[in-house]
């Protein structure tokens, strides 16, 4: 049993401080009063659970109907999530894992820790995706983001990028999911020629960062002309900062997809609640939170359409390896990548 924190959006910071101080020391005692409300524990990545992600909205909406206490446990980023699931094993307190992507689901399925979700596949993805264990809740296209005021004619393919003297910053495929996504993108688009593409890109890559936020931060500081991010990144700047200078370069080879999924842990002690939550991820209430809090596309088409900026950069072709192919491709692709860049 965990412990509960009052709704943070209502409480003033003074109240928060009092509560948090108590919670820090007396976490176990604080739970006593709520012992009869069932608790649904959802293991997710930090930015989903954080104040600025979909977490608080999802929690409020789901708790309004479930008669339960929904608790998010942040576990670092997407890659840390799978390690966390494996560390906890069958003894996990969590009922649902939310935020793995399809480059990780093969390994996640192999743990045998997940149970079928039984929910019909969502229809809002650009490619059909149906997995008995993992239910998509949002998705996005990887893309190189640039500043329109500094770069007027962006490259239209990896080959054009390699031929240019543009500088890009990318994430490391060994520590981050966008980095791994780029690796699979090049592999899916070029197959056996992938190493050649990487060799061509070597002089364009300023540096390789541990995660997305470092890379994006470097780009915003002017360290690179482009950064590996998502086609929806410009929409963040447009909507949250009224800044329309950012754009995503559309590549002719197509864009690799990141499909984010949720799964039910077989060892859950709240199977009905977990099922109800997975069903809830497909609802309008959940899905409508996704674009402007998680800055991804909803997995189910929204009744009111997408917010402005989300239609601005629409690749013509989507690339996605099956989880098994992605898992098989990762090792050799990583060796190619390392050999091409470690000069």
């Amino acid at each position: 049993m965990g412990f509960s924190i009052p709704d943070q959006s209502v409480a003033s910071w003074r109240d928060l401080m009092k509560t948090r101080l108590l919670a820090a020391g007396l976490a176990t005692i604080a739970t006593q009063g709520m012992a009869d409300t069932p608790v649904l524990t959802v293991l997710t990545y930090d930015s989903f659970a954080s104040e600025w992600g979909p977490g608080p909205g999802v929690e409020a909406t789901f708790e309004a109907t479930c008669g339960c206490d929904l608790q998010f446990v942040p576990a670092g980023d997407g890659a840390a999530l799978l390690a966390r699931v494996q560390l906890e094993g069958a003894g996990s307190q969590a009922d649902v894992v939310l935020g793995l992507d399809t480059s990780l689901t093969d390994a996640a399925a192999a743990t045998g820790l997940f149970a079928p979700h039984g929910v019909a596949a969502p229809t809002g993805l650009p490619v059909p995706y149906d997995d008995p264990l993992f239910l998509p809740f949002d998705w996005g296209w990887f893309a190189f983001v640039y500043d329109k005021t500094k770069l007027s004619s962006p490259p239209t393919s990896f080959e054009a990028l390699a031929a240019s003297d543009l500088k890009v910053v990318i994430e490391d495929p060994r520590s981050s999911t966008p980095g791994l996504g780029l690796l699979l993108w090049v592999k899916a688009a070029y197959g056996d020629r992938a190493d050649e593409i990487w060799a061509g890109l070597a002089d364009n890559i300023v540096t390789v960062t541990p995660g997305w936020s470092e890379a994006y931060g470097l780009f915003l500081e002017g360290e690179a002309d482009m950064v590996l991010s998502y086609t929806t990144s410009p929409a963040y700047h447009l909507i949250a900062e009224a800044d329309d200078t950012k754009a995503a370069a559309l590549f002719d080879e197509g864009h690799y997809l990141q499909v984010e999924v949720a799964g039910k842990l077989a060892a859950t002690d709240q199977p009905e609640l977990a099922d109800a939550f997975l069903q809830f991820t497909q609802s309008e209430a959940f899905q409508s939170l996704i674009p402007t809090t998680n800055w991804m596309y909803p997995a189910v088409p929204l009744a009111g359409g997408l917010p402005e900026g989300f239609d601005a950069f629409h690749p013509v072709k989507s690339l996605l390896m099956s989880p098994a192919d992605a898992a098989a491709a990762r090792g050799p692709a990583l060796d190619e990548w390392r050999a091409a860049l470690a000069q």
Partner: protein, 504 residues
């Protein structure tokens, strides 16, 4: 007791690595792993060497010159060391990056630009972070040379080179090995700095290989094997430093403050140049951190405050425990040098943060919900990780204390609390204050372990900085980072100034 403490520390580190190894299968390391080991050694060795060698002239200039702002400059020396890695990197990039001050200047002059990315950038960042620490450690050594010896040197007509040979060189011989080791070991486990500035997979460290092993391959055996290699290097380095140690044998002075005439002429200009250059090198990136953070300060989200409070509490508790432990160990080590203590005290630094966190998680999970123990676990890890610095700072002073006053104290039967009250604390106030300040600031910044444990509403300030940056809110993240740095620096300053005042 000290031996028991050292054993406990050793047991903690080894138990955590073993807990991870236990869950893995096999410890085989591939060729890529050994390449990572080689690169880690090269970058850490170079970083430590450059930091300490450059620190010598800076410390000497600070020791022998008096000028307005000297105290402020010495305090400022604490600042870079306590910057979170990512913040430090962004500060350095504002000066040395592709669109940084330096390259814009070069462009304006029509000169070719320089790239910071690569091994040299990694070393530059590590020197920025660790040079100040080395300066402070060496400066302590200079200040510990009894003024009577300098006066004697003066009356014997020693020139600067004789003073160096007979007084300064033995002092350096005593202080440098410790400084070298602590900086090398901390650079060995450096992760974000090396990856971000390394420029690509050629700059792969052991820590990154551990990340890959844990996160994507879930190969805990390999992770533990890599962590073991890292520990072995740290242990060897610690024992080497211990083996290199030679006491100066200056004997006790009367603590009289007397002005020793500093050499004039070109040496005065040289010292000025050294101090000016190092001040620029340290303050420009710090200024950039300040400027980046200021715009977002007004709109800091509310949850930053409770997180900040939590961080300060964790830091204070960790500091008290770490200072008490380090003092015990350093006093014992001065009385009877033991390789075991040296190694035990250095190893926590050489432990991979990720393996430490994972090991703790594996040990705690069967016993309790990890979330419930998030803050105690953070205190434990902060204590273990700041202990090595504190110990290194205290050790030269406890050795001098033992050599100069040990027999007197024995003959007076001065022991226990009264020995602490009347001998140890007054004489060690300065290094204790500095060391405690370092420990507090380090504990503010620690992030690696809390990330695995923190539940809702338990985030510390560094974690909130990461969350903001992960949600596109770079300006707010920069502001929260500025708050983190300011608080760390305030804690550091409070302890350091307190120690210096008590010593005066």
């Amino acid at each position: 007791m000290a031996l028991g403490l050292a054993l406990a520390l050793l047991a903690l580190v080894l138990a955590l690595v073993l807990a991870v190894a236990w869950r893995g299968t096999g410890l085989a390391l591939g060729p890529a792993d050994w390449a990572a080991v080689r690169f880690s050694l090269v970058q850490a060795g170079l970083s430590a060497l450059v930091s300490t060698v450059l620190a010598i002239p800076v410390a000497r200039a600070l020791a022998r010159r008096r000028f307005p702002g000297r105290g402020a400059l010495i305090t400022l020396m604490g600042a870079p060391f306590l910057l979170p890695a990512v913040v430090a990197v962004l500060g350095l990039l504002a000066i040395f990056g592709r669109s940084g001050l330096l390259n814009r200047g070069l462009e304006a002059l029509g000169l070719p630009t320089v790239s910071i990315y690569g091994l040299h950038g990694v070393v530059l960042a590590h020197v920025f972070l660790n040079l100040p620490l080395a300066v402070r450690m060496i400066l302590q050594g200079w200040l510990a040379i009894p003024s009577e010896r300098l006066r004697l040197a003066g009356s014997l007509g020693f020139g600067p080179s004789e003073v160096f040979r007979h007084l300064e060189a033995p002092m350096l011989r005593e202080v440098l090995p410790g400084a070298l080791v602590v900086i090398m070991v901390v650079c060995l486990t450096s992760f974000a700095v090396v990856l971000t500035l390394g420029g690509g997979p050629a700059a792969t460290t052991i820590e990154l290989a551990i990340y890959q092993a844990v996160r994507f391959d879930f190969d805990l055996g390999r992770a533990a094997g890599l962590a073991g290699v890292q520990l072995a290097i740290g242990g060897v380095a610690a024992l080497a430093a211990w083996g290199l140690y030679r006491p100066t044998g200056f004997g006790a002075g009367l603590d009289r403050r007397l002005e020793v005439a500093a050499p004039a002429g070109w040496r005065l200009w040289g010292d000025g140049l050294v101090l000016g250059a190092v001040t620029l090198f340290l303050t420009l990136p710090l200024l950039a951190v300040l400027l980046r953070g200021l715009p977002g300060l007004a709109e800091l989200p509310a949850q930053v405050l409770p997180a900040a409070l939590r961080s300060v509490l964790v830091a204070l508790v960790s500091t008290v425990i770490a200072t008490a432990l380090a003092l015990t160990l350093a006093l014992e080590s001065a009385r009877r040098p033991r390789g075991l203590i040296e190694a035990a005290v250095t190893l926590p630094l050489a432990t991979s943060g990720l393996v430490l966190g994972t090991g703790l998680f594996l040990l705690v999970q069967p016993l309790a919900t990890p979330m419930v123990l998030a803050l105690p676990v953070t205190v434990l890890v902060n204590t273990a990780l700041s202990l090595p610095y504190l110990y290194r700072v205290l050790l030269p002073e406890t050795r001098a204390l033992q050599a100069d006053y040990g027999r007197l104290a024995e003959s007076l039967s001065l022991s226990g609390w009264s020995r602490l009250r009347w001998l140890v604390l007054p004489r060690l106030a300065r290094p204790l204050g500095f060391g405690a300040g370092l420990a507090a600031a380090l504990s503010m910044g620690d992030l690696g372990v809390i990330a695995l444990f923190a539940g809702e509403g338990q985030a510390t300030l560094p974690l909130v900085v990461g969350q903001l940056a992960g949600a596109y809110r770079m300006e707010a993240a920069a502001a929260a980072a500025l708050l983190l740095v300011t608080l760390s620096f305030a804690l550091f300053w409070a302890f350091d100034a307190g120690g210096r005042r008590a010593a005066a």
